[in-house]
C-alpha cells in the first residue's frame, strides 16, 4: 500500500509526500458553511428589497400595480385643513376616471396634477401611494387587508393649507411672478404655499383640454409648471442677514453689543476687502454711529454684516447655514431644491476668497435660496431656535372617516432661545423701530407686534431687483411666519413687505373668526 502511494507520487514528478487524501467530512463541512453564507447573502438581499426598498418599489410609477390602479380604483381626495375639497376623482359615464380640482391657479404648483395622459406630478405624485391606497398602512393593516380581499385602500390626504389664506395670497400676488410661503412656526405646518404664475390643474387633468394645456404650460416663458416656492432658487439679498446673524451670534463671533469702529467711516468710502470695496450708504441718517447688532439689522447695514461674515469665517458660516437646511434638499412632502451659501470649490469652506465671503454675508455673491428655505429661517427664529419639520400633509383619512394625524416633530435645534430672542427683537426693531420703518415698516401687522426683514437682491445688469420679505407675528408666541418673494419687482420695502403684512394680518384675522 505504502509502496504504491510512493510510486504514484514519483510518477507525477512531485516530492515524495505521504499521499493520504484529506478526510472528506471536513471539506464537506466547509462547503456547507460556504453554502450557508451564500444563502445568508441571498436572504439579506431579499430582505433589502422586501423591507427597506418595499415602499419605494411599490409606489414606483412604473410598477404595474400602480399602473393597474388607474383602472381599478378611485384615488382618495385631497382636503385642506378645514376639509375643503381641493381634489377628487369621479368616474364618468363611460367608465373613465377623471380628477377634478377646486378651480384655483394657486393649486397647480401645489397639488400638481393627475392625468391619464401625463401621469402624476407635485403632491399628487408624492402622495400617490396613499391616494391609490398602496401605502400609509401599518403591517397590521396589511394583514387585515389580506383578509378583506382588498389590494387598494385609497385614503384622503389632509393638508395643513388653509385654502382661504392660500387664495388670499394668490390674489395678492396678482400677475406678479414670485412665491409666498406661510408656516406655523410652532408645528412646521405649511399654511399657504403659492407660486405665481400658477395654473388650474383641471386644465391638465381634463382629457378634453389636457394636451393643449400641457403644451401651453410647458412652453410658457413664465414657467408656471415650476413650483417657485420649493424649487425656485433666488438671490436673497438682505434677508440672508438673518442666517449670518444666527451664525455670528450662535458661534460667538459677535454679541448683540458688537460694534465695528471703522464702520461709520466705511459707509462713505466703502469697506475694503482684499481690494474689493463693499459699499453701502443707504442709511445716511445713522451718520457717525458705530452700529451695534440690533441697529445694524434695523437699518440693514451691508458693511456690518460683511464684517460679521469675515469674523465667522467661511466654513462656520456654511455649517450654521446647514443647520437651517442649506446645502441639501429639505425633507418635505414635495421635491425641494437645495439652497446654497456658496457655489463651492473654494478654499474657505467653499468660498473662493474673502470677497465672496463678505458679499455672501449680506446675501449676494453666490448665495441662492428657495422661498421655503427662507420661511424656515424665520420659523426657526420665531420658535425659539427650534426648527420644526416642515410639512404639508397633516394627516390621512381612511374610508371609515378616521383621521390618522401626522404628529409635528422638531427637525433641528438651530440656536439657543436667548439668541433667537435677540434676533427676533432686532427683527421687530427692523419693522417697528424709528430707523427700521423706512425699510420694513410696511411689513407691520396693524396692532400686532411684528418681526421682519426685507431684502432687495441685486441681480446685476439693468433689471429690477428681487423683492423679499421674511417675518413673523406676533413676535412672542408667533402663529405665522412668512417668506414673500417677488421676482424683479423692486425693493423689499415697497413690494414684498406690504404683501407679507397682509398675509399675516389676514391669517390672524381668520384665526379669530374674521374674514381676510
Amino acid at each position: 500500500m505504502n509502496l504504491r502511494r510512493r510510486a504514484a507520487a514519483t510518477r507525477t514528478g512531485g516530492a515524495p509526500h505521504d499521499l493520504v487524501a484529506p478526510r472528506i467530512g471536513r471539506s464537506v463541512l466547509q462547503v456547507a458553511l460556504a453554502l450557508g453564507l451564500a444563502y445568508l447573502l441571498i436572504g439579506g438581499t431579499l430582505t433589502y428589497w422586501q423591507v427597506v426598498r418595499a415602499d419605494a418599489l411599490t409606489l414606483d410609477p412604473a410598477n404595474p400595480l400602480v399602473q393597474a390602479a388607474r383602472q381599478s380604483t378611485l384615488p382618495g381626495r385631497i382636503l385642506d385643513s378645514r376639509d375643503t375639497v381641493l381634489a377628487k376623482s369621479v368616474r364618468l359615464a363611460n367608465g373613465t376616471v377623471v380628477r377634478q380640482y377646486l378651480a384655483d391657479p394657486s393649486l397647480g404648483p401645489l397639488l400638481g396634477y393627475r392625468s391619464a395622459q401625463f401621469g402624476t406630478a407635485g403632491l399628487e405624485a408624492a402622495e400617490n401611494g396613499v391616494l391609490i391606497g398602496l401605502s400609509g398602512q401599518s403591517e397590521a393593516d396589511l394583514l387585515l387587508r389580506k383578509l378583506q380581499f382588498q389590494l387598494y385602500r385609497p385614503q384622503d390626504v389632509v393638508l395643513g393649507i388653509d385654502m382661504r389664506l392660500q387664495k388670499d395670497a394668490e390674489q395678492l400676488m396678482g400677475n406678479r411672478r414670485g412665491a409666498v410661503v406661510a408656516i406655523d412656526p410652532s408645528t412646521g405646518q405649511i399654511l399657504a404655499l403659492v407660486s405665481s404664475p400658477g395654473f388650474d390643474p383641471n386644465q391638465v387633468a381634463s382629457p378634453a383640454t389636457g394636451a393643449a394645456a400641457f403644451g401651453h404650460l410647458s412652453t410658457d416663458p413664465a414657467s408656471p409648471l415650476l413650483d417657485r416656492a420649493t424649487q425656485g432658487l433666488f438671490v436673497p439679498g438682505s434677508v440672508f442677514k438673518l442666517v449670518t446673524s444666527i451664525a455670528g451670534l450662535g458661534s460667538g463671533a459677535i454679541t448683540a453689543q458688537t460694534t465695528y469702529p471703522d464702520q461709520p467711516a466705511e459707509e462713505k468710502t466703502g469697506f475694503l476687502v482684499d481690494g474689493y470695496r463693499v459699499i453701502d450708504g443707504h442709511h445716511p441718517f445713522t451718520d457717525g454711529t458705530a452700529l451695534d447688532y440690533t441697529q445694524a439689522l434695523e437699518v440693514s447695514c451691508n458693511i456690518y454684516f460683511a464684517h460679521v461674515g469675515l469674523a465667522v469665517g467661511g466654513p462656520a458660516l456654511v455649517q450654521w447655514a446647514a443647520r437651517l437646511g442649506f446645502g441639501a434638499p429639505i425633507p418635505f412632502d414635495l421635491p425641494t431644491a437645495a439652497s446654497q451659501v456658496t457655489g463651492g470649490g473654494g478654499p474657505l469652506g467653499g468660498f473662493k476668497d474673502q470677497v465672496e465671503l463678505a458679499n455672501a454675508a449680506y446675501g449676494q455673491a453666490e448665495v441662492l435660496v428657495t422661498p421655503l428655505q427662507m420661511a424656515l429661517v424665520a420659523a426657526a427664529i420665531a420658535n425659539g431656535g427650534v426648527l420644526m419639520r416642515p410639512h404639508l400633509v397633516i394627516g390621512t383619512r381612511d374610508a371609515a372617516g378616521t383621521l390618522h394625524p401626522v404628529a409635528p416633530a422638531p427637525w433641528r435645534t438651530v440656536v439657543d432661545p436667548v439668541i433667537a430672542s435677540t434676533i427676533a427683537n432686532a427683527m421687530q426693531q427692523a419693522v417697528e423701530g424709528a430707523w427700521g420703518i423706512p425699510f420694513a415698516g410696511l411689513g407691520k401687522v396693524p396692532g400686532v407686534p411684528t418681526a421682519g426683514k426685507t431684502g432687495t437682491a441685486q441681480l446685476g445688469g439693468t433689471g429690477e431687483p428681487h423683492s423679499w420679505f421674511v417675518g413673523f407675528a406676533p413676535v412672542q408666541g408667533a402663529r405665522i411666519a412668512v417668506a414673500v418673494l417677488l421676482e424683479r419687482a423692486g425693493s423689499g420695502a415697497t413690494e414684498a413687505a406690504p404683501l407679507a403684512s397682509r398675509v399675516m394680518a389676514d391669517y390672524l384675522a381668520l384665526q379669530q373668526g374674521g374674514t381676510p
Binding site: G25, Y39, T58
Partner: protein
C-alpha cells in the same frame, strides 16, 4: 453467527418487513395541512369570500406523496425522513403558484384534451414522484454508476450534441430536444450525469489530486495530467452550453465542479485557480457574446432600459417590493398587463419573484430555508457515507439542487446577473422536475442504512497519467 437465517426476501435485497417512518409522516401531515390552507387562501381571494376551492389537483398531488411514503414504509426503507417532506412542500408551493397563474401560459394537447398549466404541472410532479420512489426503493447498489462513469460521460456528451444538431430554440437559446411530442431540456439530466462522472473520477484519483504536484522549474503546479479528463469533460459541457447560450447551466456545472474538486482534495489553490479561470472566461464571454454583455449590463443597471432589456428584472423587483414582509396573499398580487402576467416567464425563470410577491418575505425565506434543509440533509449523507464515491456523489447531487436554486434566486433579486435556469421543484417544467426527482431519489437511496456496502477498493487502474517515471522509487 446468528442462528436465524435471513429471509428469502432479504437475500434478494428487498427487505419487505414494513418499518414505520414516524418523523416523515408527521412532517408530511404538516406540509399537507399548509398546502390545503394555501389552496383555500387562493380560492378565497379569487372568490372574494371564504372558500375551499377546487382541491382535485392538490388532492392528486397529496395522494402521490402519500403513495411514496407508503411505499417507503412497506419496503422498510431506513432512508432519510426529512428530504421527502421538504421536496413535497416545494412541489406543493409550485402547484399552488401554477394554479394561481393564468392557465393559458402553457397549454398542451394530450389524448384529445387541452391541458393547462396546473394540470400539466401536476402530471409532471406525479411522474417525478414515481421516479423518486422507484430510485429510492429499488437502488440497492451503486455499481451501475460507479463502474460506468466514462459511459455516462459519453452518454451526456451525446445528449448535448443531439441538442446541438436537433435542438429547438427557446428565447434565443438552444435548449430543447424533442422526442415526438415531448420536448425536454437535456441540460437538466446532464447535470446529474456530470455529477456521477465527477464523483467516480474524483473518488478514484483524489489521493493523487490532493497530494501530488507537477513540478515546472521552481513552481509546483497541480498534477495536470490527472485533472485533464475532468477538465475535458467540463470544457466540452461548457463549450456546447456556451454555443447554446445556456449560461445558467454553464455556471451551475462550473460551480459544482469546483465544489466537488475542493471536497475531494481540500486544496484551496484549485478553487482559486478555478475562480481565476472563471473570471477570465467571463471577461472573454463578455467581449464575444452580446447576450452575456446584455445580461451583465442589465444586472448593473436595469433602469437604463426599463421598457426593453431591463424589463423583466425591474418587474421582478417591483414584485418583491409589492410583496413586502407578509405578501399580498395568494391570488391578490401579480398584476397583469393585458391578459399576461407583468413578469415574463413567471412560471419558470421568475417563479421565485411570484412567490415573494404573494407570500411575502416570510414565504420567500421559507422557500430558501427548504433548500438549506436539502443542503443539510444531503451533505450529512455525504459526510457519513461509507466510501469516497458515495460521499462525493451525495455531495454533488445536493449541490446541483442547492447551487441551482441560489443561481436563479440570485438572478431574480438582482444579486447576480440573470440566467435562465429553473428553480428546482418549483418552476414549471418536466425536465427540471424529473431531473431533480432523480437527484433526490438517489440521495434517498444513498442515505439508506440498509443498502449494499460499497465494493472493496479495487487496484488502481492506470488513468490518463504519463507513466514514464514509473518504478523510479
Amino acid at each position: 453467527m446468528n442462528a436465524i437465517a435471513p429471509s428469502p426476501a432479504r437475500q434478494l435485497g428487498f427487505a419487505v418487513r414494513p418499518r414505520l417512518r414516524r418523523r416523515e409522516l408527521a412532517l408530511l401531515a404538516i406540509v399537507a395541512g399548509a398546502l390545503v390552507l394555501g389552496r383555500a387562501s387562493l380560492a378565497s381571494t379569487l372568490a372574494g369570500h371564504l372558500a375551499l376551492g377546487d382541491l382535485r389537483l392538490l388532492g392528486l398531488y397529496l395522494g402521490g406523496i402519500a403513495a411514496v411514503h407508503v411505499a417507503f414504509v412497506l419496503t422498510g426503507r431506513r432512508s432519510d425522513q426529512i428530504l421527502l417532506p421538504t421536496v413535497a412542500l416545494l412541489g406543493g408551493i409550485s402547484l399552488l403558484v401554477m394554479e394561481r397563474l393564468p392557465q393559458g401560459l402553457v397549454v398542451q394537447r394530450f389524448v384529445g384534451h387541452d391541458l393547462g398549466l396546473a394540470q400539466l404541472q401536476v402530471g409532471w410532479l406525479l411522474l417525478s414522484l414515481a421516479l423518486l420512489a422507484v430510485l429510492a426503493v429499488v437502488v440497492r447498489s451503486d455499481n451501475w454508476l460507479r463502474l460506468y462513469k466514462y459511459s455516462w460521460a459519453a452518454a451526456g456528451i451525446a445528449l448535448l450534441l443531439a441538442v446541438f444538431v436537433f435542438g429547438r430554440d427557446v428565447n434565443g437559446a438552444q435548449l430543447d430536444l424533442c422526442l415526438g411530442p415531448v420536448c425536454g431540456q437535456p441540460s437538466e439530466p446532464l447535470k446529474v450525469i456530470l455529477v456521477v462522472f465527477l464523483a467516480g473520477y474524483l473518488a478514484e484519483n483524489r489521493e493523487l489530486l490532493a497530494g501530488a504536484s507537477t513540478r515546472l522549474g521552481p513552481l509546483r503546479l497541480p498534477p495536470l495530467p490527472y485533472l485533464a479528463p475532468m477538465l475535458a469533460m467540463l470544457g466540452i459541457a461548457l463549450a456546447v452550453v456556451g454555443f447554446q447560450h445556456d449560461l445558467g447551466s454553464a455556471l451551475l456545472y462550473f460551480a459544482v465542479f469546483l465544489f466537488l474538486l475542493y471536497i475531494a482534495t481540500a486544496r484551496v489553490s484549485y478553487v482559486a485557480l478555478g475562480l481565476l479561470l472563471f473570471l477570465a472566461g467571463s471577461a472573454v464571454l463578455y467581449e464575444i457574446y452580446p447576450v452575456v454583455r446584455l445580461r451583465v449590463d442589465i444586472w448593473l443597471n436595469p433602469w437604463s432600459d426599463p421598457q426593453g432589456a431591463g424589463y423583466q428584472t425591474l418587474r421582478a423587483l417591483y414584485a418583491l417590493g409589492t410583496g413586502g414582509i407578509l405578501g399580498t396573499g395568494l391570488g391578490a398580487g401579480l398584476p397583469s398587463v393585458g391578459a399576461t402576467p407583468a413578469i415574463p416567464v413567471i412560471q419558470s425563470d421568475f417563479v421565485f419573484a411570484a412567490v415573494a410577491e404573494e407570500m411575502g418575505l416570510l414565504g420567500a425565506l421559507a422557500v430558501l430555508a427548504c433548500y438549506l434543509v436539502i443542503a443539510e440533509r444531503g451533505l450529512r449523507i455525504a459526510a457519513t457515507a461509507q466510501d469516497d464515491f458515495r460521499a462525493l456523489l451525495a455531495a454533488g447531487l445536493t449541490l446541483v439542487v442547492v447551487v441551482q436554486a441560489a443561481i436563479i434566486v440570485g438572478g431574480n433579486i438582482k444579486l447576480v446577473p440573470l440566467t435562465g435556469i429553473t428553480l428546482p421543484f418549483v418552476s414549471y417544467g418536466g425536465s427540471s422536475l424529473v431531473a431533480n426527482a432523480l437527484v433526490v431519489g438517489l440521495l434517498l437511496a444513498l442515505s439508506d442504512r440498509g443498502v449494499e456496502p460499497p465494493p472493496p477498493p479495487r487496484p488502481r487502474r492506470r488513468v490518463f497519467g504519463p507513466g514514464t517515471a514509473e518504478g523510479v522509487a
